[in-house]
């Protein structure tokens, strides 16, 4: 029979979202319950009612990708403190979708991988969007941005990012228009202020509202003076992190307060 550890290990290795609940304070310290996204579970924390409540909480936490200690009563009652359960969540990797198979894309795809993103590179031009040019990407898709977003848009969420690096209205506009209705947490588009001004006019003509436009980060990235594709990639991923954490991203040395 598969042990909880083996099931946990195999889920993480094959990137199946999984939560592991461990009783860390209470009568049976060390008791375990493994919970999958579908609600299937293995093991027990010591009682059916408790297992049911913890499973429900774990599934909600899996979506957000947070791990934390929760407190319960002996039967899983909320607002009681007798039991402490550590719920460790291994969520799906966040997704970075890069439109445009250009030189900057290579550096951004590598940075994305470094940060643990699943990276998709998409360009409609098949001579550019090749595996050989982007060996670090998880997928290279030859298609139009709006068509890719039609397929995957509903899976994008707050931890995911869309970066539009094409610089060409023909691709930029459908990519941005296609990404705006999704729940994606970060949407950035490369280009100078002048390029973006022209792009804004086109987007307004397409029926995008000014409040939707506020979601589009352009010029893309933080103001760190990056020039090369590699430096620009650092400035973009830094902005992605800052948006996710809700920080304004000045230098740590110029601020006060906790650094985490």
């Amino acid at each position: 029979m598969t042990s909880i550890y083996e099931r946990f290990r195999d889920s993480i290795r094959s990137e199946v979202p999984v939560a592991l609940a461990t009783l860390i304070e209470g009568p049976e310290v060390g008791a375990k319950l493994l919970i999958e996204e579908s609600g299937v579970s293995l093991g027990s924390l010591g009682g059916e009612a408790l297992d049911r409540v913890v499973s429900r909480d774990a599934i909600a936490m899996l979506e957000a990708g947070v791990s934390q200690v929760r407190h319960y009563g002996p039967e899983g009652e909320a607002r009681q403190q007798e039991l402490s359960v550590f719920i460790e969540c291994h969520a799906r990797r966040p997704h970075l979708v890069i439109f445009g198979a250009v030189d900057f894309t290579r550096a951004l795809a590598s940075q994305g991988k470094l940060l643990g993103f699943r990276v998709t590179v998409c360009d409609a031009r098949e001579v550019f969007a090749t595996r050989r040019r982007f060996p670090m990407a998880d997928e290279v898709v030859v298609d139009w941005p709006d068509r890719l977003l039609e397929r995957i848009g509903s899976d994008l969420g707050p931890r995911d990012a869309v970066c539009v690096l094409t610089h060409d209205a023909k691709f930029d506009i459908p990519a941005i228009v296609g990404a705006l209705p999704t729940r994606v947490g970060y949407l950035g588009a490369m280009g100078s202020r002048q390029t973006h001004q022209r792009r804004v006019e086109r987007l307004l003509e397409e029926g995008v509202t000014p409040s939707e436009l506020e979601r589009v980060r352009s010029p893309i990235g933080l103001d760190i003076g990056g020039r090369t594709p590699e430096e620009t990639a650092v400035s973009i991923v830094a902005e992605i992190i800052a948006i996710r954490t809700g920080r304004s991203a000045p230098s740590l040395s110029e601020g006060k307060g906790s650094i985490h």
Binding site: R9, I12, I24, S67, E88
Partner: protein, 105 residues
């Protein structure tokens, strides 16, 4: 967690017992978030980490005590090193709470 499985597998394959320490909670600044894990075998070999290197040495000691039956599974906390309550500490001023247990589940 993923990165420590290879070592754990190797230790299990040679019949060794393994302890696992996981960050379950942090107060203030802490270098690693809840879920960060470190595995230790009875010979004191380590895979993974639970801090920026500040408390790993002490965790190895706790893990070996556990594997030798001299302590039970449970929560161990490390705080700021100037605090007399903590022999080993985090230089960043935070407190981390670890759950240490044998990997026998």
């Amino acid at each position: 967690m993923d990165e420590i499985f290879d070592d754990i597998e190797r230790w299990f394959a040679s019949g060794e017992k393994v302890a696992i320490a996981r960050v379950v909670d942090i107060e203030g600044s802490g270098p690693r978030d809840p879920g960060a894990a470190m595995a230790v075998n009875a010979r004191g070999e380590v895979a993974g980490s639970v801090s920026g290197g500040c408390v790993e040495g002490a965790v190895v000691g706790e893990a070996i005590e556990l594997l030798e039956g001299r302590r039970k599974a449970g929560i161990t906390s490390f705080g700021y090193s100037d605090d007399e309550a903590f022999a080993v500490g985090l230089t960043c001023g935070g407190t981390i709470h670890l759950f240490i247990e044998e990997l026998d589940w």
